[in-house]
Amino acid sequence: MTDTFALTLAGILMAGAPLVLATLGETLTEKAGIINLSLDGSILLAAMAAFAVSVTFDSPWLGVLCGMGVGAAIAGVLGVIGIYLGQSQLAVGFILTLLARDLAYFLGHSFSRQPGPDLGLWTIPGIGTIPFIGPIFGSQSPVIHLSLAAIFLCWWWMYRTEGGMRLRAVGESPRAAFGRGIRVRLVRLYYCLAGGALVGMAGAAYSLAVKPGWGRPQGCEGAGWIVLAIVIFGGWNPVRAALGAFFFAALQVSGIYLQEVFPSIPAPVFQVAPFPIMILTLLAVNMGRVGWVQDMVRRNPVLKRLSQSWSIEAPAALGQDFDPRKGL
């Protein structure tokens, strides 16, 4: 029984790893005030590029690097057009997602349904024998370790370093940041690129580990859109966003198990169920905005304390253009 549970957990970690990576990437980007809507296409194109490169050079890690490069390049296009040329980030992002998707299917055609290398498993010596932990971490895909490390690194960078402070500052008030000598547009471009690289890594994680191989469909279609929702769900906090990503993965994985338990319920129900459940959860998390809930919270000191640590505010300048030449 514990082993089944441990295996389920391992499955959730695996399914959640690319979601976590992409969520962290988008959180970084949005925290700097830029909305990158090209996620879904980016993930797909990065997945294709990563697989193609690892087949060609027989090196999956080179594939991961290439996926990151592709993600960063798409984000760079958005960054230059959105940040420096002052165009709508939303419109450009949408177009890029469609472009990247079609490019992926077109360029990846010759790699379709081909065998290729994947990232394999990392075996950490001495852990495999520990009960419960062993089946989860003993011998696992490196993307899980990568995603867990990325959660910590993102949190540490955002809340414990000078650079992270500047990141939050440009997303909060670009005017004030400019007034303090921070190069707002450059900082925004950096985090656009960094976020894109993480999104690209998520694509590579799909085609080299979670759903190895390339085809049409690859299997990761739609992941980018749900990631955009999870970022909001996570309140632009890397740890909470990662929890949101794992929660969604858990819903998907448990759907597979429940399908076996309840064979009478049609399979599509379990495939679709995670999406409405996500919306309901988002609603529950954000109940604090409803009037009567606010009254209840105010009357109850325990709830009040809880609500303070749970309040969600978007970066104040999210999606706003800033041009230093116009001055303050």
């Binding site: 939050r168 909060e172 008030s173 005017r175 004030a176 940041a177 105010r298 505010e313 116009k326 303050l328």
Partner: protein, 506 residues
């Protein structure tokens, strides 16, 4: 020493600064005065490196440059304090303090804040978010930050709106100390002549983008007013209209009303106001006056208690129901909340008065041009109007049968002439029987135009003060949280506890 030479700054065809030359010497306090749009703020932004001049040059500590960047200005010790503090409300105090400064650990930053706070008699909790501070505290934090960065030239853009008289006194003492003892240069941009007359070693008067005069003590106030406004400035503003005895039914009555906004709730409150009465609300930012106004018009909720208009209870303060009952709310954020930036003046009038499609032009002329002297073309978009014209348009959109006017900062961003026109109109409304409840961060404005002043402190009504008693000292002390019994004497106790007697005037 800083020398500005022939500074021009043009925005399109608008010449915000039109050839300004100016020398600022260390150890002196300068007041920069002028009406709205005279170019004061633009000039100061040029000096702080926050905007680039179209042409001209700046000589700063012996070095000649064409323009300054924020980094360069800081390197030369220039720091600017904005009217709305340019900070990061969602971030904690210590991060706000550190951003833009050379690298330090959190512990070091906290030590520096503590040290400076001690020197300047302030108190900050490093981990508190800035959004929970008052505007005055945020300004002080910015000031500490600039001093920590080694600022020797401090520019303060209208620093005294939204702070109490006591805080203002402290701020001015501090500025005086910095100028006299540490030889800092202080530039005070202000709308209030009394501040300029009191503080400045030299008053710089700007008008229509040009520096028209530099006055030195002894000052001639009449001449200063003449220089600032030209000939339009004659005539003092009127006070409040007379209040007739208008029967026992109050216009507005609150019984045990609890109001709840997104951030906090307040109450239960009892209050009433008569027809024709002007009620001013005073209080520091976030003391409750904003919620009070928004609760009265139905923008924030009233979970408990009753609100009655002319003796008729209005269940559940619904915005639309209240509006048709004659409650009209005019927010301070005109373009954001009250006007449609992309619609023209004529379209605004059409939307508000749908019955006048046939005689639109005549109606427009009588409503806007004749009554409010709104001289802009009817096809102008609202976003292109000046602040004064936006407010004129907003006033012209109020139906004549509006019986309860709720206004947030009626003269926000208006120059003296426009402000006087706005108040003349509001007084006319009150004479015709409308009740006005308004809030202004400018305490003088509240005192000048109220029959009674409702003072808010700590998200509650602290006291209701009659016109006869309402002086700057009294209201200022109440705003700062002094006990009403000490400030007003025993007689006021009952009054403050119930939040205003029924009927208002006795």
């Amino acid at each position: 020493m800083i020398v500005l030479q022939d500074i021009h700054k043009h925005y399109g065809r608008v010449r915000a600064n039109d050839g300004i030359s100016l020398t600022l010497e260390p150890g002196r306090i300068y007041a920069l005065v002028g009406e709205n749009g005279a170019g004061k703020s633009t000039l100061m932004r040029v000096l702080a490196g926050h905007t680039r001049p179209t042409s001209g040059s700046i000589e700063i500590s012996g070095q000649q440059v064409a323009f300054l960047t924020p980094t360069l200005a800081r390197a030369h010790g220039v720091g600017m304090l904005y009217q709305d503090p340019l900070d990061f409300p969602a971030m904690p105090v210590w991060e706000n303090f550190q951003l833009g400064a050379p690298g330090r650990t959190k512990r070091e930053v906290i030590d520096v804040i503590g040290e400076l706070s001690f020197r300047l008699d302030a108190c900050f909790l490093p981990d508190e978010t800035v959004s929970s501070l008052t505007v005055g505290e945020r300004q002080l934090l910015e000031l500490l930050r600039l001093l920590d960065l080694g600022a020797t030239t401090l520019i303060l853009d209208v620093p005294t709106t939204g702070i109490t008289p006591v805080q203002k006194r402290d701020l001015f003492d501090l500025l005086m100390k910095l100028a006299r003892e540490e030889k800092h240069t202080i530039v005070l941009v202000t709308h209030k002549l009394t501040e300029a007359l009191e503080m400045a070693d030299a008053i710089l008067v700007m008008r229509q983008g040009a520096l028209v005069s530099t006055l030195t003590p002894p000052y001639d106030e009449a001449r200063l007013v003449q220089l600032m406004f030209g000939d339009a400035a004659d005539g003092e503003g009127e006070g409040v209209p007379g209040l007739s005895d208008s029967g026992p039914v109050p216009r507005l009555r609150l019984d045990d009303a609890l109001m709840a906004g997104p951030k906090y709730s307040m109450g239960p409150m009892n209050f009433s106001a008569r027809p024709g009465e002007c009620i001013g609300l005073a209080g520091l930012d976030g003391s409750g006056q904003e919620l009070f106004l928004r609760g009265l018009c139905g923008l924030d909720r009233m979970p408990r208690g009753t609100l009655s208009l002319d003796g008729k209870a209005q269940p559940g303060n619904d915005f639309t129901a209240l509006r048709s009952a004659g409650v009209h709310f005019v927010p301070a954020d005109r373009l954001g909340l009250a006007l449609f930036p992309d619609l023209t003046l004529r379209e605004h009038i059409q939307l508000t008065f749908p019955g006048h499609a046939a005689d639109m032009d005549a109606f427009y002329r009588s409503q806007c041009v004749e009554r409010f002297n709104l001289r802009a073309h009817p096809d102008t978009r609202a976003s292109e109007l000046s602040g004064g014209n936006q407010q004129r348009l907003l006033l012209s959109l109020i139906h004549d049968d509006a019986s309860l006017l709720l206004m947030e900062h009626p003269t926000r961003g208006l120059d003296a002439g426009s402000a006087r026109q706005v108040w003349a109109h509001l007084n006319d409304r009150c004479r015709a029987g409308a009740t006005l409840v308004f809030f202004s961060p400018d305490l003088d404005e509240v005192l000048d135009h109220s029959h009674r002043v409702v003072v808010f402190y700590d998200r509650a009504i602290a006291a209701v003060v009659d016109r006869a008693q309402a002086t700057t000292e009294v209201v200022g002390a109440l705003m700062a949280g002094k006990d009403p019994r000490d400030v007003l004497g025993e007689t006021a106790t009952g009054n403050s506890a119930t939040g205003g007697g029924p009927g208002g005037g006795r």
